[in-house]
Point group: C3
Chain length 379, copies 3
């Protein structure tokens, strides 16, 4: 089962507890096949009619890696897999997957599908790890607008965001989905914000580029005030994206303007992970992960991690799974990440570029230490 | 000769007949060295004066892979290779190459160099496979304009395109070359089309962005009516390209507007094959290949295919060679594709991600099954 | 220490003297830790406070590869490394590194940090190789403006640039940093140049897009007249960059306009090295290297070189280190380049794509022969 590349495993990495700095809750309700499959694609339920949702790299990874955790054969048919899931019950599947994933801390984005997935508290009851909240800027903006209306928004939003952020370890923005990372970096003036607020129809999501800029600048202020980082979705995601506008280097004008004390963590990044690594190498406050690719690109993740670590300083790379809904994603992400990291560091070691202790130190930094510092999690 | 990666070959792939869903006819006339060499570069004859045209990855692949098919040593000098070609005759070389390529169906783009290469019927006489036509939208537009003139174009073009398409299995567009895939996605109004038609000088090729949009929308209508897919050139090609504008994700606004029943097949894609794979993973009607790279990037094709299959669903990837003029391209493309696919699937199998039967199923889907479904070719 | 990939080394490459066609002088003064570390990052001194500057791929490469050249253990702590450097003296370290690098010719860009690094003459005294000058267009423009002022600039600059170029083997432009490679390709008219000159404040660097275009066109004229190439920074660099605007394919409109006799050498290119290789494959006068990545991406350089050689003609690829300040960069760049090239060519040979003699010929072309021709260096 081992390729020559995996000949000298770095056992310390197998036992390394990870800080998953960007994930979501698992489904609160039992997952039928369609709901389960839809959590394995970024294409939504439409894709289920077009393709066999298990005939993907992630589908193969889930079946081969997760089946043994459920006590069945790695290549068991998907019907058998779903029956076994159902027999164990959703919460038991979740408990097994997160336990097997080997995590010390989960940083949970609470701003997406909040009514369908477990809260951080609920997630905390599933296993022996700490949970922390990441507050999604746009979700808070939509709540404030729904409650306070456009008239009070400008005053209320900063207060509300700061309130929420005080109980959290970081903020997150999804401007990449709504306007692209190439949105104008200038802080919009009050008058244009008012005009945009007047156009925002109640019930609709925040989409106006001026409002998105305004909210992100408020996020920058809050992050600066509290000394917490901002996570920025970039690259890989769903059909809302114009992918090329989610290239993190499109955000460069913002990086030049925001206070250097505000740390920016680019999430996912692929296929622009080399670009994100470049930013991490030249901006002191830029960090990155390749979360979601250790699941959606599970079988090729070795190459993606290796490309990321071509130029990225070792203290700038973080781990995340971007798991959402299906608990299998926690496990697949963690296992593929550990394996890819062990493969890369083992290769460096074999070629004489580092000593064993160096390799272990790099693994610990990327797997947990960097996130502990960035989010001030303590030990 | 085998690397450790190739230690456990998947023999089924060696015997897998391929559907080459995007190719062109071979030269109708015997190829002298200069003509032969110019079919091995996208740079045109200018390149022949600047470099040794065989001192390229494709040059090495042709010499090493094709020489034995002609009965000479794999590393025979190019002079000997050309003499042997000449002694066998162009049609015999073509017969040998396409037979050795192992193809069941050729989908032939008839809109390029039609006066220099064999027709689908001519190609059909070279071997035991079926041939089908792909109609190039812009070529038909140019024919209609030359015949009917600008005045009758708006009425004539849809009729002519539908007529041609009825005898074909798909359409193709080269807007990426002429205007970029970032051309405006709105269907142009009649008045702007008229203005652009009035500016089109007889004898010149179609280049006006409004006309290109108009013709592509007509293509969408015809494709929807007949239930056939549209092939879209993207990425790698010749000097007409502004390469970055041929990134398939630039076409996203079109994907949001066209009917979801119209299947889009992105061709070539490199160096944006990861981007195309993303689209294939989130849009039910998007497909892709990395044709032309199994020839022009022959020696590194393993990596390109592996990158494509990082996130692409297995039912969304197709095979093509983009062979044109020199029959060697059929053979090199097919051999490098099979070898790269066997290497990747063998690797997945060895690492336990799939069973042997899964791997064979994936190979059959990508090599032929997917194309059979998309183009409704039957068995 | 060898992976299976390195099992059959191509010894000829170990002994191949390289032409380093893009480098800078080493530090004239002894380097303390902070100065040394700052030459190992493109992020400037700011990065030193944010991360351990040795906790990077380049940091590992320097420690593991260079320590033995200084006579200490490959994994010696950085303190010991710096003490050893200090004991030997800066010039002795430089002598050892450039000697160990195995270089026949250095083409030295004299337009950056000229007051801190050795001149070409000074570099020439360090070892047994020839040195040549590359003249930076923007540096000459800034000198002329400082001396002659805006009024005389239009007349003086072409004269001054031609004078400087006559003693050099090529020009270099850094428009990618100042305006992006997507700057307008039209030669600006005299009146707009005058307006921009009037706005240029003495002492500031050249940044106006019109002036940058004007100067680059003057560079094109001078290069055409003297038959010398122009080097163009692209891709990887420092915080001045909007990286996506430094994609070489953004320069395509210029490639269509400049005389085809003017050779363009794209430097660095990563993460757009595939894009640059495409241009080299279709434009007779385009060349490329992946310099700076054999140092900054030292541990992953095998993949970067392999991606470059997916489609690049072998006569279009050059070697450079982009070494600046720290002499270790000369050595790391050369060693990683040789190793990556030997690995790739050895792989092609093992898989039967070329004979041993072909592989040696390709290595000699890329390592030295191509640069000798492009810069007319003689033997």
């Amino acid at each position: 089962m081992r390729t020559s590349h995996e000949a000298e495993p770095m056992c310390e990495i197998d036992d390394l507890d990870l800080v998953d700095h960007h994930c979501h809750g698992v489904s609160a309700a039992p997952l039928g096949y369609e709901a389960f499959a839809s959590f394995l694609t970024e294409g939504g339920r439409d894709m289920l009619g077009a393709i066999d949702p298990m005939a993907t790299p992630l589908g193969l990874a889930v079946r081969s890696l997760c089946s043994p955790v459920l006590g069945i054969d790695p290549h068991a048919p998907i019907q058998e897999y779903m029956e076994r899931r159902s027999a164990l019950g959703e919460l038991e599947v979740a408990r097994r997957m997160v336990a097997a994933a080997g995590l010390s801390d989960l940083l949970i984005d609470t701003g997406y599908l909040a009514d369908q997935v477990l809260t951080p508290a609920g997630m905390g009851r599933l296993g022996r790890y700490r949970t922390h909240e990441i507050v999604r800027i746009e979700a808070v903006a939509e709540e404030v607008f729904a409650t306070a209306g456009g008239g009070a928004f400008v005053d209320e939003f900063p207060r509300a965001l700061a309130d929420r952020a005080r109980g959290a370890v970081g903020l997150k923005s999804i401007v990449a989905y709504r306007a692209g990372l190439d949105l104008d970096a200038a802080r919009p003036v009050a008058r244009t914000v008012s005009i945009s607020l007047a156009r925002w129809s109640p019930g609709s999501r925040i989409a106006d580029p001026v409002l998105l800029r305004h909210c992100l600048w408020v996020g920058v202020d809050v992050a600066e005030g509290l000394g917490i980082p901002i996570q920025l979705h970039s690259g890989f995601g769903d059909r809302d994206l114009d992918l090329w506008r989610a290239d993190p280097t499109r955000f460069t004008p913002w990086l030049r303007r925001i206070p250097s004390s505000v740390k920016i963590c680019f999430l996912h990044c692929w296929p622009y992970h080399r670009q994100a690594a470049f930013l991490a190498a030249v901006y002191p406050n830029v960090y990155l992960d390749t979360g979601a690719l250790n699941t959606h690109a599970a079988l090729g993740y070795e190459r993606i991690l290796a490309e990321t670590l071509e130029v990225a300083p070792f203290e700038k790379v973080l781990y995340s799974s971007d798991a959402l809904g299906a608990p299998e994603l926690y496990y697949v992400g963690a296992m593929r990440f550990r394996s890819a990291l062990a493969s890369l560091l083992g290769d460096w070691r074999r070629r004489g570029f580092c000593a064993h202790a160096d390799a272990v130190g790099i693994a610990m930094a990327i797997g947990q230490g960097n996130a502990r510092k960035v989010y001030r999690l303590g030990e």
